[in-house]
Amino acid sequence: MRRLVLPGIVALLALLPLLNLLPEGSPFRVSDFVVSVAGKWLCYAILALALDLAWGYAGILSLGHGAFFALGGYAIGMHLMRLIGPRGVYGHPVLPDFMVFLGYQELPWFWWGFGNFPFALLMALLVPGLLAFVVGYLAFRSRITGVYLSIITQAMTYALMLAFFRNDMGFGGNNGFTDFKELLGMPLNTPFARFVLYFAALVALVGCFLVSAAMTRTKFGRVLAAIRDGESRVRFLGYDTLRHKLFIFVLSAMMAGLAGALYVPIVGIINPGEFSPANSIEAVVWVAFGGRGTLVGAVLGAFSVNALKTWLTSFAPDLWLIVLGILFIAVPLLMPRGLIGMLRR
């Protein structure tokens, strides 16, 4: 029975946008809105998966995963901006509108190459990976763990948020990037594009899930779990804990980057707000809610908390923060193993 849960969920997710094709008025029709929102949730689910890999399996609680997500998003956002080309308001053949406006004469060096999709996608993975490598190396080498690591990663995303808010950085400041036109020759802002992006996100989620699941079952995964439960002991046994932790942290950051890269064309905007520390904490809440250390739990958590949020912000616009806040209080107290733990019992 339990073996069917996973394929069942995937099948259900794949079916969801197809139900959108039913004629209007059919009771099983899923509205365009749900398809577009569900695409966003898929990206959040990948982010939750990435976080769970680091937190649930290696005990690294990052409060800065939103930064990796946002960097991946910015990389694809830069590509999308380049694709606008002369269709911008000021009609400049190369420079995006905000650069024309701020008086740039030519493309800054860090924008080079982003006109190329494979390069942008690669950067969406490499830049978060590199940042995670540097931060992780410095932190793990000095044996910064637990709460301290959480606070450092939070400072990282906060510093990036402040920096990206600056218009002088060359990333569009507070407005970030919007008004994208197309991706890979496909016009965005059409139901068809949302369809395609939805399935791309679904494929990415399934892929990330399978990679994570495989990894946690190997010897490597068991060493990670051992590090989580008693790092000093593993070190004394002769394992290089630094290398293990660094590997999983970088992998997790790259997954978060991928999630961000899929997220931006789906929601149509990327701006420094994505770096906000509250976003990263929210992602941690999804994982805790779904069930830390179970990959299905992370996915389930991302979906359920976000669905609840989407519904509550319309149904109870004044009270949704209170309801969600009480939920965050209740989860660690009443269901320490999360949704999955409850379902399994």
Binding site: F28, V30, K40, G268, T313
Partner: protein, 409 residues
């Protein structure tokens, strides 16, 4: 099988959303979407606009609605989160099928929802003064463009009543509205013979609260022997600590007047304004305007909010004008169909609380009077200058050279 799926869907939270909304029959209520942040950093400014729209809906319904149809408001909370703005805009249009929306405060929220309104052919009224450089067929801009606020204010500072400033400090929050406004102002100042050496430009992050250093630098910049004035595009929350510091460091309006474009009655409600008397703000409306339309507006607002001390401000007035124009346009068109209402909107006129008649022009912007007010000890503004007539918006500023290459939509 189907049953199982729907139960699963319910588990995922999808069941909570209406899967499809039935098309309403003739005579069904007209739906008015309200897309203002009720939580997060922008709640401080935007909740008053939510209340204004709800007030207008109630007031319209008490007059029998529009063409016999009742109005129904749909309020959502985009929570000061820009991607959530886009999601909520889509929800308003696709799930709730609203006929019109009133919403957004920051430019980035407007830019976030713009593609959604264009794709789904919705109608959005945007009530805040902004940087211009935009014109969408799906948006009506009821706030000021830069020429309806910034340039007249600086002209005032440079005139005899404003103290004949020869040196200008441009202080702003680092986002697109201050950047654009200051760029336009720099062009304008240069054209008036003020060189870049006499212009200081500085940007701070959102919610900046430690102004000691910047105010001290402004004082130093002003101590070079030429009459200096501050032009502030500081946004929202950062204003209270800024004005406190200004008052405490003893910068008097007689020495260095400060004119602000984002400080209204609401922002002043949080500070003791006695040390700030004489500093200025430029808007298209002040609560202290003496006109019959304004008396009605203030009365309506205080009755609705049940607080005799609550103030009105410029974006609230812009919301009111937009709402009234939309109601007139629906009545003229005889339908809420977006295309018909859009056509009917152009040329609509409303006797605004500002005491002037505002008209919707073909560029989707209003004609508005420009008023300069001095801060008074009671937190209100005393109007010291106003244009003789309402002036039309130049949303594409002539002081931005790139506008010459602009693609015409």
């Amino acid at each position: 099988m189907n049953l199982r799926i729907s139960r699963r869907a319910a588990l995922l939270g999808l069941g909570a959303l209406p899967l499809s909304a039935p098309a309403y029959a003739q005579g069904a209520p007209i739906k008015v979407g309200v897309l203002h942040s009720l939580s997060g950093t922008m709640a401080i400014s935007e909740t008053a606009l939510r209340d204004t729209v709800l007030m207008m809906v109630e007031s319209q319904n008490s007059q029998g609605g529009i063409g016999g149809r009742r109005l129904e408001a749909v309020v959502v909370d985009p929570a000061s989160n820009w991607p959530l703005f886009a999601e909520k805009a889509r929800e308003l249009l696709q799930v709730h099928r609203v006929d019109v929306s009133f919403g957004c405060w920051t430019s980035v929220s407007r830019k976030s929802v713009l593609p959604v309104y264009e794709e789904l052919n919705g109608l959005l009224f945007y009530p805040v003064q902004y940087e211009g450089e935009e014109e969408s067929r799906n948006i009506f801009y009821t706030g000021a463009a830069p020429n309806q606020q910034a340039i007249p204010a600086v002209e005032y500072l440079m005139g005899p009543d404003g103290g004949e400033a020869k040196r200008i400090v441009l202080l702003g929050t680092d986002y697109v509205y201050p950047r654009t406004t200051n760029r336009i102002l720099r062009g304008f100042l240069n054209s008036k013979g003020i060189t870049n050496a006499d212009i200081m430009e500085e940007y701070t992050p959102f919610g900046h609260s430690d102004w000691q250093g910047i105010v001290a630098r402004v004082k130093r910049f002003a101590g070079e022997g030429k009459k200096t004035a501050i032009v502030s595009t500081i946004n929202g929350d950062a204003n209270v600590p800024f004005y406190r510091e200004l008052g405490n460091q003893g910068i008097k309006a007689e020495d260095i007047p400060c004119v602000a474009f984002s400080v209204g009655e609401e922002e002043l409600a949080g500070i003791d304004t006695r040390p700030l008397v004489g500093h200025l703000a430029a808007w298209n409306y002040f609560m202290s305007v003496d006109s019959p339309a304004n008396r009605d507006f203030v009365q309506l607002w205080r009755n609705y909010i049940k607080n005799p001390r609550r103030v009105t401000n410029d974006p609230m007035e812009a919301t009111l004008i937009g709402f009234k124009m939309w109601a007139q346009a629906v009545a003229t068109a005889g339908t809420t169909s977006v295309d018909a209402v859009r056509t009917a909107m152009i040329g609509q006129k409303v006797a605004a609380p500002s005491g002037y008649e505002s008209e919707m022009k073909a560029n989707h912007h209003l004609t508005k009077p420009v008023m300069i007010g001095e801060i008074q000890a009671d937190g209100q503004f005393s109007i010291v200058s106003k244009t003789p007539t309402a002036i039309a918006a130049e949303n594409w500023s002539p002081f931005i050279p790139e506008n010459a290459n602009r693609r015409r939509g």
